[in-house]
């Protein structure tokens, strides 16, 4: 068991490193992108795509797959990196990120990208879609999970709470919601824009199974996913993930906090070097 755990951890850690790398490479292509969020959320995405999700990379619409909804469409750069790591999108394609006619537009859209289950961008839509998909899967007798991935800013949207209430009402044990709490939204720190604490209590009061973890503590994230998947209670599950924007690249971790983190042209390569060195030291 210990060996199994450590091999899972190693595999997810390796995936998280590459997801960060792919995201930075895409950022460099356009000279911009939500890389601060991508670096912060890479550990959660790696846990999903290198460990938790039941997928067939060669068949992204396989009926038995776990569904993963990217409600925060602006995290597309992070998500494409995860899709590349999962071999759903070929690595060479990252060169096209954000270009005309690319399958990888800057905001995620279901009609453009294999493995993209919804068109995000208009925030607060993922969770209510997930409710419908989870009801549909249950009606079909399909045991797959629906994951909805969302940002802390989406906690402001009323539709999120309409969905939270109904997921509990309908006893959707096949629904797992992931919330990236990096405390940063367009107009500033999320807690200042619209205070959301006590967040765990809110979800619990809505009837959800709640876990709150350090979203950059890989062991904790993996354990939280496993707990959410193996729970037998007929209630929806949420994993609240506190993350650090820029995680893994110290000079970006400490940069002034903005919705769009500033990265100078020369810094893309420096960031990649920092990641590579850290990865080399870890192995």
């Amino acid at each position: 068991m210990q060996n199994n755990n450590s091999s899972v951890h190693a595999r997810v850690a390796e995936g998280a490193y590459r997801i960060r790398r792919f995201a930075l490479q895409m950022g460099e292509v356009q000279g911009q992108g939500y890389v601060g969020q991508a670096l912060g959320y890479a550990d959660v995405l790696a846990t999903a795509y290198c460990h938790a999700l039941n997928l067939r990379p060669e068949d992204p619409t396989w009926e038995g797959r776990d569904r993963f909804l990217l409600s925060h469409g602006h995290y597309a750069i992070a998500f494409y990196a995860a899709l590349i790591e999962a071999k759903i999108i070929p690595e060479e394609e990252l060169e096209t990120y954000g270009s005309d006619d690319s399958r990888l537009p800057m905001s995620g859209m279901a009609t453009y990208t294999p493995g993209m289950e919804m068109s995000g961008g208009s925030l607060g839509q993922g969770l209510p879609i997930a409710v419908g998909m989870a009801l549909g899967l249950r009606l079909k007798g399909n045991p797959a999970f629906v994951y909805n991935s969302m940002s802390d800013g989406e906690l402001d949207e009323g539709s999120t709470w309409e969905a939270a209430m109904s997921a509990a009402h309908h006893g959707l044990g096949n629904l797992i919601c992931l919330v990236d709490i990096n405390n940063q939204q367009a107009d500033g720190p999320s807690s200042k824009v619209m205070g959301f604490e006590p967040l765990a209590d809110k979800w619990a009061a809505f009837g959800w199974h709640v876990q709150r973890v350090d979203g950059n503590d890989l062991a904790a994230v993996i354990k939280a996913f496993d707990t959410a998947r193996h729970l037998t209670e007929a209630k929806p599950r949420v994993i609240l993930c506190d993350t650090l924007m820029g995680k893994g690249v110290p000079f970006l971790e400490t940069r002034e906090k903005n919705h769009f983190i500033r990265v100078d042209q020369a810094e893309w390569q420096q960031a990649l070097n920092v990641l590579d060195q850290a990865q080399g030291a870890a192995q």
Binding site: S119, L139, S159, S166
Partner: protein
């Protein structure tokens, strides 16, 4: 009070009021019954509502197929997104609420979740236009304008029970989102007298007329037929072209009929003058260079009053009497 005289019955601004006139033939719950019948052999059909099953006749579906009926609570954004989610899983969801909530409140969810991915959701929304006296909160006088703005949205505005009943199977068979204005409860039955059948995307001549062509949809087709009968006494010959599908518009039939010389063309709709059938027909005519004398009978671009439906239909010019007088006035 010493008088024993019977008090006159007060008119009412109640939310739910029948659109049938006294003594008119009606059918009960044509939408609900048709959906129950269709769903018997179509396991992919599911029903969702936002706390308005009873008031959209979807409760019949819920009683017949409790496993396929989903109560989403009074949450229209959720209703639309969850219907989209079920469509993604291969189901054909019929989602019901009132037209004001399905369009105005949930617009972005219809636009982004359902239409942008061309999902197979059928929005069936009750109290269209001025079919309730409850005031602007419940009067969907701009729903067609809103839905016309969404690419790929098919829009159906049935006239009566027959139209509604026949539309159900056809909108279910159509691949893509549909917005249908829903007539519920005791719905007038009118079109059976005209050898008519509903065909999605088709406009149909219900009666010919030399002097006036009324192009209409929804319950204003019923009014137009009454107007045509009423004006017979004045030797005014009124033709009626019923356009139950507003988008995509049957431009060919409209051009053919409106292009016939010597007729006043009147577009009549249970909707604001802004963005509905009138503007759609005007655009089609002008684009094709067909320029008959053109008039519009529609609700004003205003927040309408509360009141009894007959009062309001008179006030806003969509009662049979008001329409007849208006058209006669135009003929001079």
């Amino acid at each position: 009070m010493s008088t024993t005289a019977k008090k006159p019955r007060l008119t009412t601004s109640a939310m739910i009021a029948s659109i049938a006139s006294e003594g008119q033939r009606v059918q009960a719950a044509p939408f609900g019954k048709a959906l129950v019948e269709l769903a018997a052999n179509r396991p992919e059909i599911v029903g969702l509502t936002a706390d308005l099953a009873k008031y959209t006749d979807l409760h019949l579906f819920g009683q017949a197929y409790p496993d396929r009926f989903f109560q989403m609570g009074m949450a229209e954004q959720l209703l639309m997104a969850a219907a989209g989610g079920m469509a993604k899983e291969g189901f054909v969801p019929f989602a019901t609420t009132y037209a004001v909530f399905g369009t105005r409140r949930a617009y972005d969810f219809v636009h982004q979740v359902i239409a942008e991915e061309n999902l197979n959701v059928k929005l069936c929304c009750a109290l269209p236009g001025l079919t309730t006296g409850y005031g602007p909160s419940h009067q969907a006088t701009e729903d067609i304008a809103l839905m016309r703005g969404i690419p790929g949205m098919t829009i159906v505005d049935p006239c009566d029970a027959l139209d509604t009943e026949q539309a159900v199977a056809q909108i279910a068979d159509h691949n893509g989102p549909v917005y249908m204005r829903l007539l519920r409860g005791n719905v007038p039955l009118v079109l059976d007298e005209y050898g008519y059948s509903f065909e999605l995307g088709k406009a149909k001549m219900l009666r010919d007329g030399r002097d006036v062509l009324v192009i209409s949809s929804g319950i204003l087709t019923m009014r137009a037929l009454e107007v045509a009968k009423a004006l017979e006494a004045d030797k005014v010959d009124v033709g009626v072209l019923h356009v139950p599908t507003i988008k995509p518009l049957d431009v060919a039939t409209i051009l053919r009929e409106a292009g016939r010389a010597g007729r006043l063309v009147v577009v009549a709709e249970n909707h604001s003058t802004v963005g509905g059938l009138g503007e759609a027909v005007a655009t089609a005519l002008l684009t094709a260079g067909v320029t008959p004398q053109f008039r519009q009978i529609a609700l004003p671009d205003a927040f309408l009053d509360a009141g009894a439906l007959p009062t309001l239909h008179d006030r806003y010019g969509i009662s049979t009497e008001a329409m007849s007088a208006t058209i006669k006035g135009w003929l001079g």
